[in-house]
Amino acid sequence: MLSFIVRRLLLSIPTLFGVLVVVFLLLRVAPGDVVQEMVGERADPETIARLRKELRLDEPVLSQFAHYTGGVLRGDFGNSYITQRPIMTDIRERFPKTLLLAGSAMLLASVLGITLGVLSARNPGGWFDRLGLGIAYLGISFPVYWVGLILILVFAVTLRWLPPSGYGGIKYLILPAFALGSRSIAFLARVTRSAMLDVLSGDFVRTARAKGLTERVVVVRHALRNALIPIITVLGLDFGYYLTGSILTETIFSWPGLGRYVVNAITRRDLPAIQGSVLFLSVVFVLVNLLTDLAYAKADPRVAYS
């Protein structure tokens, strides 16, 4: 197992290097210019030329790349051209907030989604199944920004139960987590339901029932455990996406996470900030995928890594 983890981590290094090269080059050929963004709407060519020199943007791309990669290898992502703050400090400040939001959304999604799916599967075609199907369709079809705005209107403006936006204690977390997780709730409910239906018709379930086990034990301990693989796949994928880009949710709820940081950096062509955050998010994605694979092994002893 340990050697599997080490090998996977080593294999991710070329991937990350590839990400770095692609991002670096793409940013140099993409239209838009960080210096123009820095100087704003009015400037003179001399000022622009001096800034280019100061930021080493007048050097050949290869030497810029070497300089940047050298920094990254020493663990230094450099400073933002726009704000002059270290990129690492910015990421350290914002990533925990994105993690909190993504984690809460996933927690909500697993609890509600799996429960909904299991209950639907127990009586396929019944009233609860149909209700679950309805909820799932809504959750999948409504875009997250729309869900977010409706949640704000209902729970913050009309009912005044929760604050409309911002970052703080748990009351600030509920609406954005629900908005972000809504799609996962729906999707998980469907995936859980179909996986459970597959499993529930298996011989071992009949055996378990024949042994006289209670229905609860049959469903939760025997059936659900065997239906976990597709559920983990969905959870892993969604979690990865939430960590790397809950941009819409963060924008609607003024949540000061990493998604908004990346968007701001892109808008202003802040090269080191874009490069640094994309690289960081790639690492996160690699780790989440690794954790997902490890979870497969945990859920299903037939999956073994060596």
Partner: protein, 516 residues
């Protein structure tokens, strides 16, 4: 489900406003849509930064909400008869927030720091009129020859050539005075002389300021101030309706529903902003080099309909680049009225009986896409076939600055309240490209008039020159003149003393109170 929403939405829309005052003692602003660049004045090249810098710092001069320039750290100034030498008499006894005294040496050091390429701020031009400033910025000199501090309370500035608007440029956030030797993290922990002391900055969340009880111009009337950063307009609106923020810039889309709501309409206040929407016509490209074609573009555009349909009527039709609230505006100028027949006639006269093809560049943000579509439809009626090129703001700006756009719909925010801030950057020949003149307009007569206005010390004579220059360019039509924007704000009933600022950094909240 659909019926449920039809029931719920009107119920939601009808509430909000007219509530009792909150118990908090903090004024909460909601206008910033993105995190400021820094709190360091030398880096203030965007609006959120400029606003915050105006709270913490002072310049030698400053703006009032209604666009007047008044003394700041300089209590008065004299100009020599030739308009070259400015003597600024500084206030005495002013202290920075950390207790250090303010003196003329800070002014010299601050201006050097703004110009030093190592600062990497990128906004030196407001100081370039000072003799030797450009040499200093280019590292050709170790000091600024036209800048001196003969004693602690006097700053002597010699300009390269007369520039009557110079004191207005000094009120820009970038020229705010900082203490000596600002540390590397000054942008995170700023120390100024201003009415508000910096307390806390949660990035992408909020900025907090506390009243400076020793402020030389009288301390603010409220304990503290918070600037929340809310990227989404609908969210800011919800925060306002929940009573959590005190001032809201009402989104254009919501303008009509607010204006017709009996409760909400009472909270609205508006003022003309120094913001100008126009379509830059690149006069160096193809058929656009012909003045008749450019005039045809103006005749073909139905500006007043666009203004009411796209902008909810928020603004006034522009007849020239000088807004009506500034000296030099000509209220009697006859504009290009919407006249499709006339536009076609001009195109035929210019040798384009079958019309022309042009690109119209537009950013994906704010109202640009909608304006571009409306203009495209208008121009099509006159046989001008428009291809809209929609890119993100940075790409569009770069293309325009490199002369690659035919037409470019854009907005200009004034940095200081003067006609010069529209005429010079947008149309003066030296400013082609990055300087702001993306029409690539060049007219020696126009340049001469602006040069003359720069030298003219008498305000009324200067305004006459502005009017003439504006008229000259108007006839040459290097742009489709659209409109001057009008800000519409919603202000909570418990807020007293708030005035909508004409320049973005003109409201410092010092006279604003929360009353029961």
């Amino acid at each position: 489900m659909r019926r449920l929403f039809l029931l719920v939405i009107p119920a939601i829309l009808s509430c909000g406003g007219g509530e009792s005052a909150p118990s908090r003692k903090t004024i909460i602003d909601s206008r910033d849509t993105y995190d400021p660049r820094s709190m360091d004045p030398a880096l203030s090249t965007d609006v959120p930064t400029g606003r915050a810098v105006a709270y913490i710092f002072d310049g030698l001069t400053r703006f009032t909400p209604d666009a007047k320039v008044v003394p700041g750290l300089a209590k008065s100034w004299d100009v020599s008869a030739d308009g070259i030498t400015y003597t600024f008499h500084l206030r005495s006894g002013v202290k920075f927030h950390d207790g250090r005294p303010f003196s003329s040496k800070n002014v010299v050091a601050t201006f050097q720091r703004v110009l030093d390429p190592k600062t990497k701020g990128g906004r030196g031009w407001p100081l370039y009129p000072i003799k030797g400033a450009e040499d200093f910025a280019a590292s050709k000199a170790t000091s600024i020859s036209g800048l001196a501090a003969p004693d602690d309370s006097t700053v002597l500035i010699t300009l390269k050539e007369p520039l009557s608007i110079f004191p207005k440029e000094l009120a820009m956030p970038v020229n705010s005075i900082v203490p000596d030797n600002p540390p590397a993290d000054f942008g995170q922990k700023p120390i100024g002389t201003g009415p508000w002391k910096f307390v806390e900055w949660r990035h992408d969340d909020y900025l907090r300021f506390a009243r400076n009880p020793d402020y030389f111009d009288g301390p603010p009337k409220t304990d503290s101030l918070m600037a929340r950063i809310i990227p989404e307009m609908s969210t800011a609106t919800a925060e306002f309706e929940a009573g959590n923020v005190d001032v809201l810039s009402v989104p254009d889309e919501a303008g009509k529903s607010w204006a017709t709501d009996p409760v909400k309409s009472k909270l609205l206040t508006s003022a003309p902003a120094l913001r100008f929407w126009y379509v830059a016509i690149n006069v160096a490209r193809g058929p656009l080099a012909d003045v008749r074609v450019r005039q045809a573009l103006n005749y073909a555009t139905d500006v007043s309909t666009i203004l009411s349909a796209v902008m909810a009527g928020r603004g006034t039709v522009a007849v020239g680049v000088v807004p009506a609230i500034l000296g030099g505006a000509d209220p009697n100028r006859k504009g290009y009225a919407h006249n499709v027949a006339k536009a076609k006639e001009l195109l035929v006269a210019a040798g384009h009986p079958k019309g022309i093809d042009v690109d119209l560049w537009a950013a994906t943000t704010d109202q640009s896409p909608r304006l571009a579509q409306a203009i495209q439809a208008n121009l099509a009626e006159a046989g001008i076939r428009v291809t809209i090129v929609q890119r993100d703001a940075s790409s569009v700006r770069e293309a325009a600055r490199n002369g690659k756009s035919d037409l470019y719909v854009k907005e200009w925010w004034a940095d200081y309240p003067d006609a010069e801030n529209f005429l010079y950057p947008l149309l003066y020949s030296k400013n082609k490209g990055a300087g702001g003149n993306v029409s690539y307009y060049s007219n020696p007569k126009f340049d001469a008039l602006v040069d003359q206005a720069h030298r003219e010390q008498d305000e009324s004579k200067r305004n006459v020159l502005y009017t003439q220059a504006d008229q000259l360019a108007y006839d040459d039509a290097p742009m489709i003149y659209l409109f001057f924007y009008k800000d519409v704000y919603a202000v909570q009933p418990w807020i007293k003393g708030f005035a909508v600022p004409a320049v973005f950094n003109g409201q410092r909240w010092t006279d604003v109170t929360i009353t029961k």
